[in-house]
Each structure stands twice: as C-alpha cells, then as structure tokens.
Symmetry: C2
Subunit: 712 residues, 2 copies
C-alpha cells in the first residue's frame, strides 16, 4: 500500500509549487479501548458488521503537536457532545473477531469503499448540505481481551488529484495579510455562524472580505455567494494542522468537492486555514494561514479519484499499531474485567440467552468450609459470584489442605487458622473483586450435648440469631457440613424464609446434591391443597408419580428421614469421624452443587421450577443450561448420576408448614432447648403417624430407582 | 477406683512398721506413639483385640528420678533388644477405636483379669520358671489421629496382702551392712548369673551370703537353695526405685509369690533391693538397700488377692492422661502423617483390598497446567500421589485464578508467572511432602507455524528431547492441554513407551475423559492379529461390538479422528481461543480423570484391563473401586455420564504400530519437520484408505450411543 502521495514528510522548502498536506495522527485514548471492550463483550460479541463511531479534531493546539483525530470513551455514543470549539468527524469501525481476520483484511478495498462514498456525496451534493460527509475516517481493530492488547489501523481517506495542486500564492499568516479589525471581523463572523448553525465548529465555509467586514457562509450557499467576486473565491477550512506552511488533511476532500462543482468556472481559490488558539486567556487567530491555489485544469472524470489515507505505524512503515493496556491498567480492575470476559464469552455463541446477572448477583451463604465448602466456593468464583460468606467452627488441620482447595500447609501451623476466616481470606487472594466474609461459629444442633450453663446458652442464642441474620442477608444457602444434624436448623430457618437451599453430602464414593423444595409464600399457602396429605396421597398412586412436580412440592433433606436428627459424631471410629471419601468426590459434588444452583437461577421460575428427572434427559431441557433436577445422586464406582425426585413430607421435621414451625424469632432466645423440645414433640408425632398409618406416604421414605434403593 | 493402698505418697517416717512401695511412673515416649500410629493405620485398623507390648525399667537412675516403666518405638517388636542392664516387662495394650470406648472401658475388670493371670502363674509355678510373668502391665489407649492427641491409662497390677507386710529390720544401705569384698562378690555373682542366663537383668533372684563370697541363684532353684539357712532366706529384686527407705513396685508380686509358695515355712525374708549405678565411669551398687520383713501369717486363700495399680494422672487424680503430640511434632512430618491417615482410613472398613501403594507411588506427568491441570493435580494430592510434574508454556493471566485452583491474583502481576513453575510451587505450599516440578516449555505441534531459524529449530529439538525424557521418567501421562494438536506428540511418545495415558478435554458443557489403549510390549505384537484390519473389521460386525475389549485393543484420542492434527488456534474468535466452559466442568472432568487413573491402577491388569461400558453398570465391578471404563463422556446439561468404548484404529496417526512410527530418538534431532513430514505421509495414506474402503472401520470414526452421536 502506497503512502499518501502529497503528504508532508518533513518541513520542505516552501518554494515548491505543489501543495502538500499534514496527515492526521490517530489519538485513541484508554477510555476508547475500555468502551470498545465493553461493547465487544456486551453488545457486538461476534458481530463483525461495521459500526459508526465519532471522533473529533481541534484547530487550537500549540505549535509542535501533530494534527490529531481523537477517539475517546464517547466515540460510540452518537448523542455525546463534542468538546467546545472542536470539530466532529464520523467514522466506521471494523472490529474483527480474530487477529487473522484483522491481518488479512483487504485494506485497499475498505479504503476504496469509503472513498467512493465520499465521492458519491460530492457528486450528489449531499456533501454541500452536510460537509461532515467529507471528513470521514476508518478504524480497523482487533481487541485481544485475554491480554488487553489492542491492534488497530486508522485511515482518513483523501481523494487525490492525479497531478496534484499548484500553489499560486504561498502561505502567509493571517496577521501578515489583514488588519486587526479585519481579523476581528472574521473571528466575529465565524463565531456568529457557528452560533447560528448550532455547531461547535464549521469544518468548511465560504468567505467574502470587505474593507472592514467579513461575510462568512456555509457551503450550501455557494451559488450566488461569489457572484460579485470575478471568478476568484475564498474558502475557509477548520484546520487541525499548526505548521506555518502546510494545511492539514481535511482540506483535501474539500478541494476535490470544489474542483468537481466549480473547477471550470474558477481561476483560483484563496484558502484560509482557520486556526484558533487561546493562549494565557487571549484568543488568537492570527497564526491562521492563507494561500492561493489553482484548481487542476484536467477535469475529474465520473469515476472516483484515487484515494490514500492509511496511517503509518510507529516505525514509519505501513502496518497496524498495537497498544498494550495490561501494563497501564490497575491490576485489580484488570482482574475484574478478565473474569467478566471469561463469563461473557459464554453468552456470545454458546448460550446467548444466559442471564449472567442472576448468577453473578446471587449472594451465597456456605455453611461448612471443608472439602465441599472449598469446592463450592471455587466454582462460585468461576461463575463470577461476588458475595460469598462462610460459616464453620473448625480449625484447619494438617490433613485438610490436600483435599480442601482453599487451604495451605501454613494455615495449619500453631493449631490451625479458623476455616471460615481463612477461606474468606483466600478468596480475596484469588480474586480481589470478591466480597467474602467468614464467621467462626457453631451451628446449634439437635441431639448434641449442650452444657446448660449461662455462658453456653447465651452463646447458643447468639449463634442462632447470627445464623438467622446471615440467612436473611443471602439469596442461596448451601448446606455443606459433615453431619446430618447440623443441617437441620439452617434448613428450618431457610425454609421459613423461602431461601433457595442447595444441599450436598458425601459418602465414600456416592454423593447427593439437591435443592430443597421452596415453599410458596405464606399468603398462597392456604388456597393451595398441595400440602394436604389426603389429596396428596391419592396423587401419589398415579403413574406419573414423580413427573411434573413443581418446586414447592419438592422434599428437603429431612423429608425422607425415618430418624430424628441426633448426634451422629458420638462413638464414631476414626474412619467414621473423618469424612472418608474418594478424593475426587467432593470436587465433583461441589461443582455440581453450584451448577445445579446456576440452572435453577436460570429457570424463569427459579426455585419453583418443575423438577427434572432422569427420564427428562431425552426431552427438551427447560433452561438454556439444561435440566433443573431436584436431586443428583452420583455413584463414582459406576461413573453414573441419577436424578431422583421426591415429594415434600407434610410432617417433615425441617420444612413442613402444617406442623407448627418453631418461631425462629422466639427460638433465637430460647434455643437449643425450646427448638429441641419442639423437635422431639414433632418427631414423636411423626413416629405416631408412622405407627398409625404404616407406609402412609411411600414417597417420603425411600425412592425406588431401578436397581437402586435410596435411604437417606 | 481406689489408689494402691500401700503406695508411697510422700517420704514418710521410716519408723512405721508396714512396708510401702514406690509406684511406677509410665514413660511413653514419642517414638512409642509414632509406632502405635503406624500400627493402628496399617495393621490394627479397627481391630480392638488386646496386643502384647514390651517395656523396660532400669535400676541405675540417679537419685530424684521416679521409677519409670519406659515404652518406646520398640515396644511392639518382641524381638527388639532391651537396653544394656535394663529389665524387660511385658504388657497388654488395649487400643480403642473411639474416645467413648476408651472412657467407658471397665478398668476394674481389666485389672482383675490381669491380676488373675499373675495369680494363676504363681499358683501353677510358671512364675518361678519365668519371673517376668510377675511384672506385667496394662496400657489402655485411644489415639486421636486427626489431632495427634493420645489418651492413655497405665496400670502395673500389684496383688495385695490384706493386712500389709510387717518390717522386722528397717532398710539400710548395702554399704552400711557388708564389707567391700562382700559387695564386690555380690556384684560379680549377679553379673555372672546374668551372663549365664543370657539376660540383661535378673528381675528376682535368691542370695546366700558366706564370709567373703555370695551365691546367687535363679528363682526356679529355690527348693534346696535355702536348706541350710534355718528358715531365713535372702532374696534380691532388681529395683527401679532409688528412694533410700522404700522398695519399688516390682517387689510386690514377688512377695505374694514367696508367701504363697513358702509363707508357712519362713520366719522372715531378707530383701535386697538391687540398685546398680554407674557414676563418672565407676560402677556402684552400695546404695542398694536391704531390709527384713515378716510374711503375713494369715495364709492366702485359693482366690486371687485384691489388686491395685492404675496410675494417677498429672493432677493426682484417678483418670487418664493425654499427650498432645501435634505441638511437638515437626509440622511437615505431621502433615505427612495426617495425609497418610486420611488415605489409610479408606482401607479400614470401606475398601480393605485397596492397594494404596500403587496409587501413592505413581509418578504423574501433567501436560497442561490450566483449568484441567490444576484440578487433576489437586485430586492427585488428595490421593497421596507424591510425584507430580507440570509442563506448560503459558503465563498466568488475570482471568485464570478464579478457574484454575492453583493460582492467585498475585501470580498474575508483572505479566504473570509461568504456570508450570507456579503450579509446582503451589503444590509445595499445600503439602511440603510432595515432590513437584514445573517445566516452562512448549510442546511441538503439527500444523503450527514453525520458524525454521537455527534458534527455533534447536529449541524445538530440545523440547522434544525433554518431553521424551519426562515421559520416560513418569508412570502416567495426563493430556490436559487446550488444543487437539498439542496432544499428538506426547500421545505418540507415550504409546511407544507403553505409558498409561489419561486424556481429558472440555467442551462448553461436555467433557471426555479417557485412557488411551495400552499397546502390548513389542515382542508380543507379532503373534497377535488384533491389529490386523481384515480380521478386525469382521469382528466389528458382531453384536458384542464393544464388550470385553482388552486394554491393548482400545483406541486413543486420535483413533477416531478424521482430520489430521492441525493448528486449531489460528483464526479462532475470542470465545474459541479461551476454553469457554461451564466453570464446574473442569473440576468434574479433572476429578474423574484422576479417579479413572486410580481405578485402572487398582485393576490387576492395569492399563490392559478390559474396558467397562455403560452396560456394565449393573454387573459385578472388576475392581474394589468399581468400573474401569475406556471413556467417560459427561453432559453437564443433563447431569449425565456415558461410558463409550472404542477400538484402536490400525492406521491411527498417533498410536498405530502398523504404520511406521517416527523414530522418536531420531525425531528429537530433526523435529518438527521430519515428524511433520511423516505425519503428512501417514495422513495421506490414511485418507487413501478412507477413499479405498469407504467406512472401512466404522468403529473408528463415531460411536453411536442411543440418542447421541459422538464425533471427536
């Protein structure tokens, strides 16, 4: 690609007779690239069609600065205002998806296409009506958002006269040619016209000089404006160049326009390169230059003239430029946008309907910061969840770090750091943009020995109050403890507050991941008979026992229980105390727990979504991410998962709405005794129920899957 | 429980007439607890039956030290030698599985049982033959190996005379009673008898004094030894006590023996408490004490006398003691044994046949340290694998830490640390016992542009040589890269070296985890026609197309390919460049890749094991850990896994043995050009094959699973 033929390379002897022009330098600031990144991620995605963008240039720079076309943050907003006294320029952005497309792009044809549009606007007269059509630009980009490297190539297309332009009168300063009052009159006339037209600058204008006054007119008034000038006209151009012997680039297409419209009529054209500087509070246009040229005699044909305009790179060659913004960006912001990028990439092609906001904004409470808690937290981070809170009362022991992926050897020294606090700290170290907190506290448990001293009772009350407050403040509650009974109180509180509960529990090589049924809001309860056991049990005999069960009818972890939660840690041998499981199990279960949450959140009905079962695997999935099961039960020895569904038990010790739920507010002042008493009372009535009715609610005790019986 | 009634509590007035004894203090050193831990983990596991252990005591301690019964590392080894001049004591270890069993143990009946055995050995005469039967002890323990807290209660059973023992002659020093030559004669006689009996010490012995000589005899010679002594006998006891007025505990049961055997015949007994000190190189027994007692007149009945002996705790009460070894152990060793513990727990009850050593000792090479590599490494750590090596050429970028669980924000600063090195460092931080290394290098890839300069060619040759060396030095090769083609060269090398290859690859919400077929060693190849396509293709038409396929017939990642490996990163959009996948997917696939490796290693035939398919899920699994599939293909949108099996393709570009394999040794000097050339040649012949035979090997292109077609 050849460089612009009449471009100014060095200050040359002004005695030459051909007119030369100072090209634009592109000035693309960090705000522009930031906004391009946002547009790419959120709007363009894989769309490569050309986009209209807007830049501006200025005719008031101090000597020494190159003529710049500036693109900033506002370049994508057509309604954004242009800085005072600056002149807008519209351009076309070609943002490619790959570096290969960027490199192999046919720049010659892009330039020709743009030049042709300028030529057409000249021929049609549109450019006379709207002179901005003459100063258009092109920008070819590739944004490598993994590395924050931005590749670009700027082009300001200029149509060329085949033989160049002859200078009749060399450039001189305005101050060397006109009187002060004439200069002031020119300035006043320019300002008035700007004001009248409602613009920040006039890129091109017509001028008539009288003794002590100047008349200025927009281009569209040409006809008639120069009638009395005897074939000699004067035109003004808003000139970003500040060299004393050369005009800037914008004049070029205007001269083509002039030659095309009136070339044969004009003997010469006087050009004012209007430069408008304010120094130390004093406005000054006297450094504007003025010169006279002769338009070429050889007429322009019907075809578009040859065009030039691709910018040279920093090395002076014809090639693209690159800016590496990773070095100048704040690393924390860089991390945030990188994490965002990875997530948004999912939306581009794979899951365009993914509602990331629902996931990212979910406030997650993790009860348990052990093997499951660590894996769940890491997967939540991967999904961009920004609010993660841990509750645990254990300290990190030496066997933990190899299985609990938020801890290290150092965390075990001196008796071990509290897990909840260490986990929260680690998340910050992984990604400073996350808001993580840890609470080193116990969760009161039924059946566990409580010392009824004032101190321990007061502590238990405080723990219950804190737990309730935490559940209130979050959207999703993950039950990730290593005992059954510790899941009970949070399950009760979360059920009463209608929070989504995701429960995960491990065996040696089996796991269960489930969402608890989400009860309907209280005002809807009475009108609905779904919790009525009489009508419910007849439903259960139907053939589609576990199909189309909505979220509010689903069971919780305790609905299938036949024993009350008790102390399961007493009298356990070492292998029963530690959760002895195949090391890969917690990672699988932790990851699936989060993926289940994500799928539920993507469903328009959220926690009320009808549960998908194994049978639904062949059907059209209910969300863009797939199925929304009630439970995932995994069997590592067979590398198999099944998706059972179970109904809520209306006498469940944890989630039933029929049996009087312990008033959690009251309980927080009297727990654990009161809650435990109520639990025991309920448990007794439940056992009574079993005695009275036998298998009154088959669906509530065990779920039969061919070849498998699940007893929780 | 009452304390021993005639125990010395404080130095008391020696004028009292009843004999009192200084009890043993148990001295259980860290070596003992260490060995108990090892026995518990590797041998006893959940076995609670009593075990014989061995301690010793010493009669040469300086004044001020309590009489100690020492148990150390060697306590469990009946053949271990006893330190010079120390006296052995045998005991019974009751190691409980739970703290509850420890606490609720019936200590009275344990003591009675042991006392009864002593009594029986006295009555039967066995104790005369083997006096060690008199100084037995009990040790009740609970080892909390999660916290390294050891609870224990020591008992040295002493049978009691109902009315105590009357002193006739108060204790005096040997030096105050005998002449130097008599003392030297005693010492000489004792040494000679020890030598004759081949023991380090005589716990009990008989003494006759003459003017300038002393005769000493073992207990079994009692009859006749004292015939000429007129009903007055002298006995010696190896005495660990060094108080000047009291004997130590071992004398007690001996006096019961004496009273039972000869009580009615003897008027009095002279007792020598033999103490044998070496100070500043000079041996000295003059501080031994000697006194005379009268054995009780009331005869012992046929029933076992009352016994005492449970040790008091540090607070002086009747209760167990606890040592917390977590504080005094080297934290790194503590971490190692804790990690061991967690693994060994699996063997105790759940998978008794698990061969952990095969897993722990597997040397694993991870090619790729991204999302998959990090998850695989973490799961390997959980399984106790001690040798993990990473190869990667990328640097850690800001989007990595939230998805790649070995990196943190800080690792991204200043352009990012090399992944392979940072990952290896992180493993050390997690568990100092692991041996991890990282190699920041590229894996030469077919189809990727190579600059044929001397420098890059030399680098490529070095990389190939290093890769080959690494594959040689490891047992399992994990392919965890993000491009197809980077898997090719390692697959070729690993196939030729018969290394187990585990391959994992991610889609957006699907993954494949597979083991490559493991070719038979070269000498077996020729005799086997399984690679013969002609006979192979007829097999393929059978109904049991994918059942009972042995490991050596299984395909590799490239066997199902219909295109040659080429540059898949060129011309990819941002979402194709990043591995855009659901964040939980890598954790699931990484964990399953390791679990697959573990299952393969547990199979007696290892990589040659017949592949399990989805159909085998209902059958008896081939290993204690379950199935050993060829491939696991996961579908996160359906929370489903299937286990396809595919056959090796005998013209495969990576694993075929029929087509001339590039000589890797030669290739390492000429790669990538030569290997690429050969690849292209083979690819050409493969395409030819497809043209000639059409779907010649249906099983090698796509695997049909009801509802799914898999094309790799």
């Amino acid at each position: 690609m050849a460089a612009a033929s009449s471009e100014v390379h060095h200050p040359v002897d002004p005695g030459i007779s051909k007119l030369q022009f100072a090209p634009f330098s592109s000035a693309l600031d960090a705000g522009f690239w930031h906004e391009l990144t946002q547009k790419k991620l959120n709007e363009y995605r894989l769309d490569e069609t050309p986009k209209v963008i807007k830049g501006y240039y200025y005719n008031g720079d101090p000597l020494g600065l190159p003529a710049r076309l500036t693109l900033e943050f506002s370049a994508f907003d057509m309604n954004a205002s242009i800085p005072a006294r600056c002149c807008p320029a519209f351009g076309t952005l070609y943002n490619t998806n790959t570096f290969e497309t960027f490199k192999s792009c046919d720049k010659k044809s892009l330039l020709e296409k743009e030049a042709n549009e300028i030529w057409e606007s000249i021929k049609s007269g549109a450019a006379l009506e709207n002179p901005l059509l003459l100063n258009r630009f092109l920008l070819l980009t590739f944004a490598d958002l993994k590395k924050y490297h931005f590749y670009y190539w700027f082009c300001y297309p200029a149509l060329c006269f085949p033989d160049g332009i002859h200078i009749i009168q060399k450039p001189v300063c305005l101050g060397d040619r006109f009187t002060l009052s004439q200069i002031q009159a020119l300035q006043k006339a320019y300002d008035e016209l700007c004001h009248k037209e409602g613009v920040t600058a006039l890129p091109y204008f017509l001028i008539k000089y009288h003794d002590n006054s100047v008349v200025i007119s927009p281009l569209k008034r040409w006809d008639g404006f120069f009638q009395d000038q005897g074939g000699k006209v004067a035109v003004g151009v808003y000139d970003p160049c500040n060299l004393s012997h050369y005009p800037g680039w914008p004049l070029r297409n205007f001269l083509i326009l002039a030659a095309h419209k009136w070339g044969s009529l004009l003997q010469s054209v006087e050009v004012l390169c209007f430069r408008d500087r304010t120094m130390q509070g004093v406005r000054d246009i006297t450094h504007s230059i003025i010169f006279e040229i002769k338009l070429p005699e050889r007429a322009l044909g019907p075809d578009c003239p040859k065009a030039v305009g691709w910018e040279k790179n920093q090395k002076g060659g014809m090639g693209p430029r690159m800016v590496n913004l990773s070095e100048c960006m704040d690393p924390k912001r860089l991390a945030e946008s990188s994490v965002d990028l990875n997530l948004k990439l999912m939306c581009w092609r794979l899951v365009p309907t993914l509602d990331l906001e629902k996931i990212v904004s979910a406030k997650c409470l993790l009860l348990g910061a052990g093997t499951l808690g660590c894996s769940v937290a890491r997967t939540l981070m991967g999904w961009g969840v920004r609010k993660i809170t841990f509750v645990d009362n254990a300290k990190i022991s030496y066997s933990n770090p190899v299985r609990q992926p938020l801890y290290e050897f150092e965390d075990c020294l001196s008796g071990g750091k509290p897990k909840a606090l260490a986990a929260a700290d680690r998340l910050q170290k992984i990604f400073p943009g996350v808001s993580s907190e840890g609470y080193n506290m116990s969760i009161p448990m039924p059946g566990h020995p409580v010392n009824f001293s004032e101190v321990t009772m007061a502590q238990a009350r405080k723990d219950v109050a804190k737990l309730e407050e935490l559940i209130d403040a979050h959207d999703v509650v993950f039950l990730l403890m290593d005992t059954r009974e510790s899941r009970w109180l949070p399950a009760v509180i979360a059920a009463s507050k209608r929070k989504l509960v995701i429960n995960a529990a491990l065996g040696f090589d089996t796991f269960v991941v489930m969402r608890h049924g989400l009860k309907k809001p209280k005002q809807q309860e009475s009108g609905d008979s779904c919790f009525n056991n009489a009508s419910g049990s007849s439903d259960l005999l139907g053939s589609s026992l576990f199909s189309n069960i909505p979220g509010y009818k689903l069971g919780c972890y305790f609905c299938n229980d036949v024993v009350a939660p008790g102390d399961s840690t007493r009298d356990r041998t070492l292998d029963q105390q530690c959760t002895v499981s195949r090391p890969g199990l917690a990672m699988v279960a932790g990851a699936l727990a989060v993926e289940l949450m994500v799928s539920v959140l993507q469903h328009p009905e959220g926690g009320y979504a009808v549960a998908s079962s194994s049978d639904d695997r062949m059907n059209e999935p209910p969300t863009s991410l797939g199925l929304v099961p009630h439970q995932i039960r995994g069997f590592l020895s067979r590398f198999d998962n099944v998706l059972p569904v179970s109904l809520a038990f209306d006498k469940c010790t944890a989630c039933s709405t029929k049996l009087k739920r312990p008033d959690v507010q009251a309980a927080s002042y009297s727990l654990p005794r009161i809650v435990l008493n109520r639990l025991h009372a309920r448990e007794a009535s439940r056992r009574q129920l079993f005695r009275n009715f036998g298998m009154v609610a088959a669906g509530n005790q065990s779920i039969f899957i061919p070849g498998q019986i699940f007893l929780v």
